[in-house]
């Protein structure tokens, strides 16, 4: 028995508990939330339990960030906790809080299931934190499912609407397909390396074809979730059909978690010869996303295509890294891009949710015409988000793109970087169209003016505006803890 004790002592160390505390807090909070629903006197405390859980988890996550020595690889090398993953974790918690704020008051008929909704909103960030820290394919897979399954249910949450159910079903079926691909790849990697741990797989190398086929399937599974060509087809339908606050979480949180894993853990495993292929995939993704967005008349669907384009832009970090750019710079660029996109994307989708919840569907371009006269504050905030999505200086979106393209230039891929910048110019075309509609066009006859005003959404918008400006003007705030 004593050898078992030494084994466990070596696994469950103080740094292991420090590293996993945020996930534990989310789990406990989730149970508390369920308890609040059962015990009638505790029912009014549900919102408090939700926000409190996220705050506690964020404090625990911040402890990892500011610890004197980061825990590093813990639990026998299955979970990584360092400043980068801690910053990712914090952004997930902030992201789900913002999306939740936008969701409060969004649903009218589904109020009965408020607790279920909140529980699923707590489970998703736990999965995201697991994914980014995963140094073992098994940990990543459990994290991925812990994120995806709640999102499948949330996508179909407005069951009275056919498009919502369709979104949930599509997301579920394609998600299951990508999970199967990922699992098949993991099995092949296990056959080759004899371990699921990423460090063991890296040590074994990709010399054998088994390992090569395995890493290709694993990467395909990851690209599926990250909506990279040719696995991007599901995005517009799913993003458009899902309830808008859920879309906000999907577009920003899921993307951040997947790219976090890709950049922090998976990227070093890829063979350098894959760089041109991944660059081509990224460029094609940007092309399809941007030109798909150009022809949309529904703003929500347009933002979905824009999300695809952003995934393509961000993916350019990977070939840059593989071609020899500084690894720290590459992961910093990805982190910055994702945090900036978190505030921008959540804000943009959230404002649509705010307008939409008014009973009418304020997601078409026509209904946004003349919005500046009717709701100047919303129009102004929306303009800021759209400019940041388009990459205009003084916003976080600009600096994010700047960092990504500078990684490419550093690696000597200037031509690809220029191509990427050109696509950003195309993107401005459809972002500006919305701004023009809001400010320079008259409202259509017969369109009811949106009147919604909700405290939660207003607060969330304020946070997003501050976030976009802060990442744009004071990037050192975010990059400081990483020790650049």
């Amino acid at each position: 028995m004593s050898d078992l004790k030494t084994l466990f002592d070596s696994i469950f160390t103080a740094s292991a508990s420090l590293a996993t505390a945020p996930i534990l807090a989310l789990g406990v909070g989730l149970l508390l939330l369920l308890l609040c629903d059962i015990v009638t006197p505790l029912r009014p405390a549900r919102g408090l339990a939700f926000v409190g859980t996220l705050v506690v988890a964020a404090i625990l996550q911040a402890r990892v960030l500011f610890a004197n020595s980061a825990p590093g690889l813990v639990l026998d090398g299955t979970f990584l906790a360092d400043p980068t993953t801690a910053l990712f974790g914090l952004s997930f918690l902030v992201g789900s809080l913002l999306a939740w704020l936008y969701a409060s008051g969004y649903y009218d008929e589904e109020r009965v299931l408020a607790t279920e909704h909140d529980v699923l909103f707590l489970a998703a960030p736990a999965g995201m934190i697991l994914m980014v820290g995963a140094a073992d394919l098994l940990v990543f897979f459990v994290g991925l499912e812990l994120l995806s399954l709640p999102l499948y249910a949330l996508a179909a949450f407005r069951r009275s609407r056919a498009d919502s159910v369709e979104a949930g079903l599509k997301y579920f079926l394609l998600g299951a397909f990508s999970s199967a691909m990922f699992l098949f790849g993991s099995a092949l990697l296990y056959t080759a390396a004899g371990s699921l741990s990423l460090s063991a797989i890296a040590e074994h190398g990709l010399a054998s074809r088994t390992a090569l086929a395995g890493i290709a399937l694993v990467t395909s599974g990851v690209f599926f979730k990250a909506s990279i060509f040719p696995f991007h087809m599901w995005v517009p339908d799913v993003y458009q059909g899902s309830p808008t606050p859920v879309t906000a979480l999907m577009a920003t949180g899921t993307k951040a978690a997947i790219f976090g894993f890709l950049v922090v853990q998976l990227m070093p495993l890829l063979p350098p010869s894959a760089a041109p292929m991944i660059a081509v995939l990224a460029i094609v993704t940007m092309f399809l996303g941007n030109f798909g967005a150009l022809v949309q008349s529904n703003v929500k669907r347009m933002l979905a295509y824009s999300g695809v384009a952003h995934a393509g832009t961000l993916l350019l970090v990977v070939p840059g890294f593989l071609a020899g750019a500084d690894p720290a710079a590459a992961s910093r660029a990805a982190l910055f891009y994702l945090v900036a996109y978190l505030f921008t994307g959540t804000g943009a989708f959230g404002l649509l949710a705010l307008l939409e919840a008014d009973g009418e569907r304020f997601t078409s371009l026509d209904s946004l015409k003349g919005l500046a006269k009717r709701r100047p504050a919303i129009a102004a905030a929306m303009t800021l988000f759209l400019l940041s999505l388009g990459g205009i200086p003084a916003t976080g979106g600009f600096l994010g793109k700047w960092f990504v393209f500078s990684v490419l230039v550093e690696a000597g891929w200037t031509g690809t970087a220029i191509l990427g910048v050109l696509f950003s110019v195309v993107a401005l075309g459809y972002y500006l169209r919305v701004i023009v509609a809001m400010y320079m066009e008259e409202a259509l006859e017969g369109e009811a003016a949106p009147t919604t005003n909700r405290t939660g959404a207003t607060a969330a918008t304020a946070v997003c505006v501050v976030g976009v400006l802060a990442t744009g003007l004071l990037p050192a705030l975010l990059l400081g803890p990483l020790g650049s």
Binding site: A153, G168, S208, R209, A213
Partner: protein, 190 residues
Amino acid sequence: MAELLFYLLSLGAIGFGIGVIRTHMPLYSVLSLLGTFFCLAGIYLLAGFPFLAATQLLVYAGAIMVLFLFVIMLLNLGDRDELNRQTGVALSGPRLAAAGICAGLLGLAGLIAAGWGGKVTPTEAVAAGGVDRLNDIAEVLFGRYMLPFEAASLLLLATMVGVMSLAKRQRGEETEAGDTGWPWHKGVEQ
């Protein structure tokens, strides 16, 4: 001998798997699934994992299958025409092509892996650190893989809540007399 058994069981698993999606009778589907589970349990046994094989039989072939059968009987899905009307399962050209391409790609990946990557026979897998003692499994589950193991329980809970939110009928939706709010009670004689 072991290799022959392995291929037989694999063929059986694939055959039953096709049976699950090819038959029009839900009951046959479930029974085919049962066959797949049995074949998989046999493969685990061959690979030197008796505990895993037993668990597979107990949990999947036992508990979960009974659940499936219950649902089928509660929903009264025995009628073939009824199911066809609901799901319209039919093999059309495009569907067949799509399935063929998928299966072909997966098979190709498997062939590449098996043909050029060096074969791993069940005996080698055991020698390379296979676990077949309960203690070993516990050590791995509660040691190295503590985090995913515990996270899986969170995952199951979240999934349960998600399924509830999708399946439960809400206030405001049309309810009939004697309706308990759960979809499978609709239309059942009270």
